[in-house]
Structures are given as structure tokens and as C-alpha cells.
């Protein structure tokens, strides 16, 4: 079936089977492999994307369910020059990335939080990351990086 939606702010139309998930659509049909496939049951958050402004697990969304809607994946999060954006740069600076597998999901969870709540408390950041597992960092550096991003964006807005 033809699935038409907005992907990273660009309209796309893709012919795909009706029985696949959004994650499979992104990875196997659109070759966007930044969203990771891991638990496939919504427990790890590695496949997180932003659907109409809200964080979702793309492994639990039917691909045709995004018809007419807007999806942002990790490939759509970048600085204007194509390099890392401020949050991604902070993840590097704060040592928030070790093996890196969970990081696309972590960045999406962080960006989804700041869309809704531009100045979160550390506790709110932890709640926002509750569905994203990281087995390397212990999370502190990830919370630090998101907190720093929120603060620097607030300063830029001021």
C-alpha cells in the first residue's frame, strides 16, 4: 500500500506492505537506520521517534498509521550545517555516549521533552527518559547533557 507522510519535514510517499511497523518502514524501506531495533516490545526506547510532536516507540506503531502525519527521526535532528545539533554536541561533551546504541532514542526522548517542556527539572528529565534503557552510562551524563541543552536554549531565547 502507498503510505504518504511527512518525514523529517519532507513529504514522502512509499510503497510498503500493510503488515509492517513504522520501525521496519524507516529502516528497511526508507533506509533510515538511525532508529534502532532492539527489544521490539516497547521496553527499551531504542526505536523512539517523534510522531506529531510526541515520543512514540516506532516498533509499536503500524506503518500505515503515520499516513498524513509528521515523523521526526534521529536523521532529522541536526545542526543547519548537517553536523550534530546542540543537544547532540552536549551528549559528546558530557560523556553521555559510550557504545551509542541507545543514543538515537535518548536524543529523541530529550528533544520530545524540550518540545513540551523547554525548562524541565532534573526529575522531569529522568521521567522523560524512563522508557529509554542505557546499559553503559548510568544515565547521569545523559541527564546532564539534556539539562545543559535546555539551559543554553533558554539563554538563547532570552
Amino acid at each position: 500500500m502507498l503510505i504518504q507522510f511527512t518525514l523529517n519535514n519532507q513529504p514522502v510517499a512509499v510503497e510498503a506492505p500493510s503488515d509492517i511497523t513504522l520501525l521496519a518502514l524507516l529502516r528497511d524501506h526508507l533506509r533510515l537506520t538511525g532508529s534502532k531495533e532492539a527489544c521490539e516490545v516497547g521496553e527499551c526506547g531504542a526505536c523512539s521517534v517523534i510522531l506529531d510532536g510526541e515520543l512514540v516507540n516506532s516498533c509499536l506503531v503500524a506503518a500505515p498509521q503515520v499516513s498524513g502525519r509528521s515523523v521526526i527521526t534521529i536523521e532529522g535532528v541536526r545542526a543547519p550545517d548537517g553536523g550534530p545539533n546542540d543537544m547532540q554536541q552536549n551528549f559528546i561533551s558530557y560523556g553521555a555516549v559510550q557504545c551509542g546504541f541507545c543514543i538515537p532514542g535518548m536524543i529523541m526522548a530529550g528533544e520530545a521533552l524540550l518540545l513540551k517542556n523547554p525548562q524541565p527539572t532534573r526529575q522531569q528529565i529522568r521521567v522523560a527518559l524512563a522508557g529509554n534503557l542505557c546499559r553503559c552510562t548510568g544515565y547521569q551524563q545523559i541527564v546532564d547533557a539534556i539539562e545543559a541543552t535546555a539551559k543554553s536554549r533558554a539563554r538563547q531565547r532570552a
Binding site: M1, P17, S18, D19, I20, T21, E40, V41, G42, E43, G45, S48, L51, E54, L55, V56, N57, C59, L60, V61, A62, P64, Q65, S67, A109, A112, V127, A128, A130, G131, N132
Partner: protein
């Protein structure tokens, strides 16, 4: 060849029509957070998913003539952020806040939580306390069932093929009612309830408990109010000693339903403890996580 097809319903009537087309086993798709997990382990049980999440009235949360109504496609996030629900049934909003993590709450729906009917479903204890009514629509017309009759056992409901849950309704609890929900999981977030409890109650001018409903989750195969414990509490002044006895009575009632199972040595103690805490939260104003 795809294993199943996909259709999107724009209206409730279209959803019901699609669910009842002959020769196509169709099921409603809400957030997908249970269906796509079940698909990994179960043989395919449908030919078509009918996406109902674009039907506006299925997202409605409202109150009219003292009756609160919640659409089946309302997500946990929409429910927990609803000022109406925070006001009339804070323990239901709290239960929704305890489901999974943010991404699951953004997708998962109350209709799906009830239709899936897991014994550990987080929304069930509060909905059962509220004596919520499940409203169903099919080509034969509307049907309404108390939630305690709708859910007949773990992952078992009395929904008929082709029926769609449209909404839930419940009478607005008495003015001044206080409610609380407590969940025990293996960790604070993104966990399945090992045990939970919802309760709502009021005291009269004389200080005695005059309205109380108490429902444990993941304690019995079917989520039910523990009315013998409610009867024991009614008319009594709320004291710590009373709540200790109520905790013991809750555990005894659970064991009378389930018998002694492998999990009983844990649940017997844990249910007693969360019963005391939930009653203290309501009647002694003790703080609870939400």
C-alpha cells in the same frame, strides 16, 4: 503477500462498518502497544487492523449531568493531563501516569487497556472503583456493561466479534471524595504492576467513613472491589489501627479468591502494606507519589 491489511476509520460508524465486513476478521487498533507485542508470540488472530485513533469523538473526555465520559481512544497521556480527570478522579489520572514510560503513555489507550484486560492493567482498579460502564457499539446497536462484568478474567472480556468500545462512563464521585492509587513494580517506571491498589472515599460531618471503594490490581484474576473490606470500613472513624485491620482483611479476601499461590507469601504482605498506605493517603492526608 502481507499477513494482514490495514484500514483507517474516520468516524465511529465507519469503524463499526469496517469491523463487521463479512469474511474479514478485523480488530480495532488503538495505540498498538499490546497488539504488536502479542503478534510476536501469538498466531495471527485477525486479517485486518482498523485504526480508530483518528475518530474525534473517541478522544472525548467530558462531564454532563454528573456523568463523566472518557473516549476509548483517549491515551494515557491525554487522561493524565486531563484537568477534568485530575479533578473528579485523581487516582485514575495517577494510574495512567504509572503506565509504562512516556512513549507507551503517548500511544496506549484506555480502551485498549480495558479490552486487553490484563489482570495487572493499571487503569482497571480505578475504573472498577468508579463502577465504570463500558459502552459498546455494533451494527445491532449500543450495549452497556458494568466494567466488572465486561472483564471476565485475565485477558478475557465479554466483547462480541464486531463490537467496538466507544467510551467509558461513571457517575461523578461524591463532592469532597479523596482518592489514591499505589503501584508496586520491579522498578519505578516502565514496569508491569506486581500489585496495585486504588481507593476512593469520604468521611461525614461526624468524622466517620461514609463512602469507600477499594480495588486491588494484579491480586485476583478479575479486578473486583473488595466489598467485605469496604463494609468493614464504613461507619468507622479513620484510624491507623482500623487501616491495619483493613490491610489484613484485604489479604485474607485475596487469598479466599485465589487460594495460596506461588506469589502469595509476597502478595499477602505487600497488599496489606499498600492497603494501609492507600487508606492513610485518603483519610490521614499522607503523601503519595501522585
Amino acid at each position: 503477500m502481507p499477513k494482514y491489511s490495514f484500514a483507517t476509520a474516520a468516524t465511529v460508524d465507519e469503524a463499526v462498518r469496517l469491523l463487521n465486513e463479512p469474511e474479514v476478521r478485523s480488530i480495532p487498533l488503538g495505540g498498538g502497544t499490546d497488539i504488536f507485542v502479542a503478534l510476536r508470540v501469538n498466531p495471527l488472530w485477525f486479517d485486518r487492523l482498523v485504526d480508530i485513533t483518528h475518530v474525534p469523538e473517541l478522544h472525548h473526555i467530558g462531564v454532563a449531568d454528573g456523568v463523566v465520559s472518557i473516549g476509548a481512544a483517549v491515551t494515557f497521556t491525554q487522561a493524565l493531563e486531563s484537568e477534568l480527570l485530575q479533578g473528579v478522579a485523581p487516582f485514575l489520572a495517577c494510574a495512567c501516569e504509572n503506565v509504562g514510560g512516556p512513549a507507551i503513555r503517548n500511544s496506549g489507550t484506555l480502551g485498549g487497556n480495558v479490552a486487553n484486560a490484563a489482570a495487572c492493567a493499571d487503569s482497571l482498579p480505578a475504573l472498577v472503583c468508579l463502577d465504570a460502564v463500558v459502552h459498546l457499539l455494533s451494527p445491532a446497536g449500543e450495549r452497556a456493561l458494568p466494567i466488572s462484568e465486561f472483564v471476565s478474567g485475565p485477558h478475557q472480556t465479554n466483547i462480541q466479534p464486531g463490537e467496538l468500545i466507544t467510551h467509558f462512563s461513571f457517575a461523578q464521585p461524591p463532592a469532597g471524595a479523596r482518592s489514591a492509587f499505589i503501584k508496586i513494580g520491579r522498578r519505578r517506571a516502565q514496569s508491569i504492576s506486581r500489585l496495585s491498589i486504588a481507593a476512593i472515599g469520604t468521611t461525614n460531618a461526624g468524622g466517620a467513613i461514609d463512602y469507600i471503594r477499594i480495588t486491588p490490581g494484579a491480586a485476583t484474576p478479575k479486578t473486583i472491589r473488595f466489598t467485605p473490606v469496604e463494609d468493614m470500613l464504613k461507619g468507622q472513624p479513620p484510624t491507623r489501627e482500623l487501616f491495619v485491620r483493613a490491610g489484613e482483611a484485604m489479604s485474607a479476601e485475596m487469598i479466599s479468591v485465589t487460594g495460596r499461590r506461588w506469589s502469595t507469601p509476597y502478595k499477602e504482605i505487600a497488599l496489606k502494606a499498600i492497603t494501609e498506605r492507600v487508606l492513610a493517603a485518603i483519610f490521614l492526608q499522607e503523601a503519595q507519589p501522585c
